[in-house]
Subunit: 403 residues, 2 copies
């Protein structure tokens, strides 16, 4: 169902909704026949919600597809990530919380090394450490282009963000200047469409000044640009679902994706306990709360099964103080990060949905929150972007379709 | 899968199919851990069909979406309700079984009250009772517009149907004349597209005569028009599935939706037992039988759990006499109407599919027909519009896709 269809059904009154995302929640057993991280964790509070709630699995992007963090969260917000695509430059800007404006063109940059003839010898400038990259990036940020503003911001090591703020309307269909191999010259910034010519011209003017600006540098003496992208002009979440909406997250990437769809965003310390006061202070001001826990994903990425279990148990202890804020609680992940795989995976993600007085639920049996139980859940296996309509329905916030 | 794809695979021979719709069949337990209406009902005949059949849940429109009766049934007939949308005026015509013709424009009308200046004082004419509205609507039906026919038919209280039968081709993209508030003049009937100008002109000519026609009335002295719609030009069910098809239903709305997709339709008394002779008389003449039971939905809407259980049990007693008419029996609802919610809901709907000699089934276990069993059924949770292809396949009526 398209967001326009949802917007047509959405009603402005009903229960408040809490979306608690344990990043990378889905997991795998370490050995055949064993339990996943979530199944291993002792989660009496989640189990209690499930006992009077509904469960299922969700597929964040598409069957077999391993999601990145951006698409994984867009899906949870109801935006089909196959339809709503964010350019890499824009994702990079979100990741460092650069305040992109409509009309801006965001670009991923790499510091690189070229020889006297300008031929690429290292596409990542020897993976220059962030501290060493910072003064180099300040030199780049000082470059001025006529008729436009430009901004350079550090990301990590050789990676940076370049933002072009043109004085005129432009599209961002500009080819990468990274040739992908060494031994050749960097490519030109070429517009793929006539409407992208302003962005390409600014990029070329800016690039032309880089060799002089970095003349004194030994290894980081040139840059490569990739992923030119504008801020997408999408339906806004608070208007689609008719809820005053806020994201509470420690990491800028997740606040950035939330802001991208029009939510407010609040930064907290990287500790699940910090979510409680941040939520409690805002209960009256919002109808929708997206809370983000990063630790589960980091533990999964590190291949640390036990730590992932511990963090799930920690969040479970905090759950009563969180779930009391809203009538509807939706607990899930943006993708699976099985410790066994030490990375994101394509596996469907367990979810539980609880609340909605008088709206009831079907009997899920008595076992606790976990992948195998969710695979037998009354809500089946659905797409990630179907979770928000489900939560909204349960909150009494979606009207009838047709007569 | 689109209907054109189904039509390309459909074969004219195979088993007959009986679609038995218990309106609003899906339900909820009254309390956590309890049983739904269907799970509570003693249904030995349905359980026996399930024991050698397959089960699952279906989502009539989309996850989280509460269907109206029109979209719910279109879905059961294989028409994706997100793709096949019926305008409100056309639904209104179906609901009173007005014989809409291709080219007709159907409009929802409200009797309303205006003051001497024509300013709206009551958008529903004090919810005038139907008996009082009837003579007023006869005055409206007598209005004549040059170059077109117009028909006014009562619906209920202040609501009526206006049908414009233009002498020329027209679209129906005409704006509502209902301003949605009192204290202002009714709006003009304005065409949104040039191709809708004929419909708008007829509506304006008709509206211009209403004040004189209703000059003697005290409260119902003007009308508001909404939901201009034409009869959609869709693929016809009997041709898509290559089955001679008949609807047997007590309520005009359901016969209307069936006629909309090209089925024949037969009216019966509002008693499930009346379905048996109506079906038996027609067994030789048709390949597809849609039987509609309204009582389950009405009991659900009334919040009457016990009555819904009773009606399900009543239908179960009649089932052997019904299911013997066709090789394939599909039993389901068009949506859920949990008594606990006293209204339509978004919850997935249980279905059972039985029959097809030699076509076999997978093991469902031994428990009876109900939501929790169906959530674990071998056919999974599918979209409502996928049920008809499934039934047709089981009937041996769908050929192989590709070589």
């Amino acid at each position: 169902m398209h967001l326009t269809d949802i917007a047509a059904l959405a009603e402005p009154t009903g229960e408040k909704i809490l979306l608690l995302v344990l990043d990378g929640l889905g997991g795998l057993p370490l050995a055949t026949g064993g339990l996943t991280e979530l199944e291993t964790a002792r989660t009496p509070n989640m189990d209690a919600l499930l006992a009077s709630g509904d469960a299922g699995l969700h597929v964040p992007v598409a069957v077999g597809v391993t999601p990145g963090s951006g698409p994984g969260h867009l899906s949870l917000f109801g935006y089909d990530p196959l339809e709503y695509r964010v350019g890499r430059g824009a994702l990079s800007a979100l990741g460092i919380e650069f305040p992109l404006q409509p009309g801006d063109v965001a670009v991923r940059g790499n510091l690189c090394t070229v020889d006297q003839r300008g031929v690429l010898t290292d596409r990542r400038a020897g993976r220059i450490p962030t501290e060493e990259a910072l003064p180099v990036l300040e030199l780049l940020d000082a470059i001025e282009v006529s008729g436009a503003q430009t901004f350079v911001r550090p990301v990590k090591e050789h990676r940076f963000l370049l933002v072009l703020r043109p004085g005129e309307a432009t599209e961002a269909r500009v080819e990468d200047t990274d040739p992908g191999v060494t031994g050749v010259l960097p490519l030109e910034a070429v517009a793929v469409s006539p409407a992208s010519e302003p962005a390409a011209r600014i990029a070329r003017d800016w690039l032309a000044q880089v060799p002089d600006a970095l003349a004194g540098q030994t290894r980081a003496n040139m840059v490569l640009l990739r992923g030119f992208a504008t801020l997408p002009d999408w339906p806004r979440f608070p208007e689609v679902f008719r809820m005053r909406s806020v994201a509470i997250a420690a990491y800028p990437m997740y606040r950035g994706v939330a802001r991208l769809v029009g939510m407010d965003a609040v930064a907290v310390e990287d500790d699940p306990a910090a979510l409680i006061p941040a939520l409690q202070e805002r209960v009256e001001d919002y109808d929708f709360f997206f809370l983000h826990v990063k630790g589960t994903d980091k533990a999964g990425e590190d291949g640390d099964f036990e730590r992932k279990v511990d963090i799930i148990e920690r969040v479970d202890e905090l759950l009563p103080a969180l779930s009391e804020a809203a009538g509807i609680t939706l607990i899930t992940g943006d993708h699976s990060t099985p410790a066994r795989m030490a990375g994101h995976s394509w596996h469907p993600v367990p979810f539980l949905l609880h609340g909605g007085p008088g709206r009831g639920h079907r009997n899920e049996g008595t076992a606790g929150f976990g992948e195998s139980e969710c695979a037998r859940g009354s809500l089946g296996t659905i797409r990630g972007c179907e979770l928000m309509p489900l939560a909204a329905a349960r909150a009494g916030r979606l009207g009838k379709f047709g007569a």
